[in-house]
């Protein structure tokens, strides 16, 4: 079995008296695609936002690699290697596609931001390495043809791929994809599955939340199912599909 990269240990998150997540434990392993599914209101988004650092957790522990990250602010978790995308397209509409992805890669720089003002202490090899990585990311996310277009002018599907590209630019260990297929049509979903698999091929682990069952069953190595803020099942897509508890709570008989 591969080693775990992201470990969630008895995570709880309450909003006032409402327990959005209760004693949730799971792990994302090295170069694995883990699907997180469940009915509306089951706590999927709360889980992602707790992992990313938008919400402070009530109790529990989140570990990325060897580092405990649950006390860190959102931006510091990205530097540790946890990147994310959003449910709705979130972009820098005035930038070009390439500029946005390059901005996403800044977190990996070791040179001081002030060095870019006067050009003193600027690292040419660092610039070159980032340019190269950004070019590669644009390639695998199919954004190369629009790299110089303004973000506000590209299609909404391309904007969703751009979010993934920007997250990838931070050189993450784990990437959280929050409903990446929302609003995509059939052939775009196919491209998305291929992209998610190619992210795994890069050695990056993926935690994907999705309502689109065909997609999640296709890409996931394993799946965790939530209901009412608790884990009700965990296993391979095949096991999940035939799990009576999951069928009863979420999938229904037809699946």
């Amino acid at each position: 079995m591969k080693a775990p990269v992201l470990k969630v240990d008895t995570l709880c998150k309450s909003f006032g008296g409402v327990h959005a997540i209760r004693d949730l434990s799971f792990e994302v392993r090295e170069a694995e695609i883990l699907g997180l599914i469940g009915p509306n209101g089951s706590g999927k988004s709360t889980t992602v936002n707790s992992l990313a650092g938008i919400f402070a957790i009530t109790s529990g522990k989140i570990t990325l690699g060897d580092a405990q990250i649950d006390g860190l602010p959102e931006y510091a978790r990205v530097a540790q290697g946890l990147a994310r995308t959003f449910q709705t397209a979130s972009t820098f509409s005035e930038f070009t596609v390439r500029e946005q992805v390059l901005l996403g890669s800044n977190v990996t720089r070791t040179s001081h931001p002030l060095s870019s003002v006067f050009g003193i202490g600027r690292k040419a090899d660092e610039d070159a390495a980032l340019e190269e990585r950004v070019a590669h990311i644009l390639e695998i996310t199919n954004l190369k043809p629009v790299e110089h277009a303004r973000v506000g002018t590209i299609s909404s599907a391309q904007q969703r791929f751009l979010m993934i590209a920007t997250a990838l630019a931070s050189d993450p260990k784990v990437i959280l994809l929050d409903e990446p297929a929302a609003g995509l049509v059939s052939h775009e979903r196919k491209t998305l599955s291929e992209l998610i698999k190619s992210i795994r091929a890069l050695g990056v682990s993926v935690l994907v939340i999705e309502h689109h069952m065909a997609l999640i069953m296709d890409v996931s190595d394993r799946i965790v199912v939530l209901n009412f803020g608790q884990k009700i099942a965990e296993g391979t897509p095949e096991e999940i599909r035939n799990n009576p508890v999951v069928i009863d709570a979420y999938l229904g008989e037809a699946a």
């Binding site: 931006y75 990205v78 530097a79 990147a83 979130s90 972009t91 820098f92 509409s93 931001p113 920007t166």
Partner: protein, 319 residues
Amino acid sequence: MMTLNRTFIFYAVALVGFILLPQLIAVKYYLHLSVLALIWVIAAQGQNLIQGYTGYVSIVQAGFMGIGAYSTALMGIHSDMPVWLTITLAPFVTAFFALLTGYPSLRVKGHYFAIVTLAFNMVIFIVLMNFHELTQGEAGITGIPKPGAKDGLFNWRDRETYYYFVLIIAVLMTALAALIVRSRIGQTLIAIRQNEDLVGAIGIAAWKYKLFAFVISAMFGGLAGAIYAHYQSFINPEIFGVAQSLDAILAVIIGGSGTIAGPIIGAFFVVFLPEYLRFADSFRLILYGLVLVLATIFMPRGIVGVTTDLMAKWGRGKT
């Protein structure tokens, strides 16, 4: 490349124009206004960093000018420091106060930030008015020395000398602003303006950049205030109030928010327009307000925005 050349030509022509300006001005009073406008260019470039590029409207730029002006004047009175040194130190004193206020106030977003900075400007004003022992209150400080020795190389009492001095500083500060906005820091500031949530999600500590922009903008203001103090030789709290901070905001909006040329044009606009409206006598301020309201409604991207649009249209028409 083409646009870079065009921009270069624009700034070269503008610079030549500014160098020749004192020779073209017959009325001394207009030279005086031009010096004031150049001082406002420095303050407005600072305002533009936080307001135009970062997207946070700060209503305290005149307050920061006040801190700069009073600190250079008071350092001069209470120590033997030469004028050039107190002018240099004034922005750092301003930066200290900006750090103190910026750190808590940048935790709030949007309009709340504007209100907090507005309150800070009022506090500065009240302190300058009432801390008599230090600031001499409403009467203000008189006899602030000009830079340079009495029989030095330059005659600083001559307006033209001061004009060129301020011009050099304004050019340097404009260049500094341009370097900042073209750097990685500037890109991040523009990113914050567009989508602050996403900035955090890509691993950037937005608050550090916002604080940087705020403190640097305050230093621009502090420097402008210090230069003003030695130019006028007299300061009182009146000119460092909220109304003047609004002028700094207007200079940025009217000139063209988030552009380097904008604050230059805007600064001359807010200094000269009220003077040209003097014919209207007591209706002057109403007319001024009207012009500003109309300009904001019909030219939201400022004079620079309208000009670039027109030039693009003209360029398309030609080809």
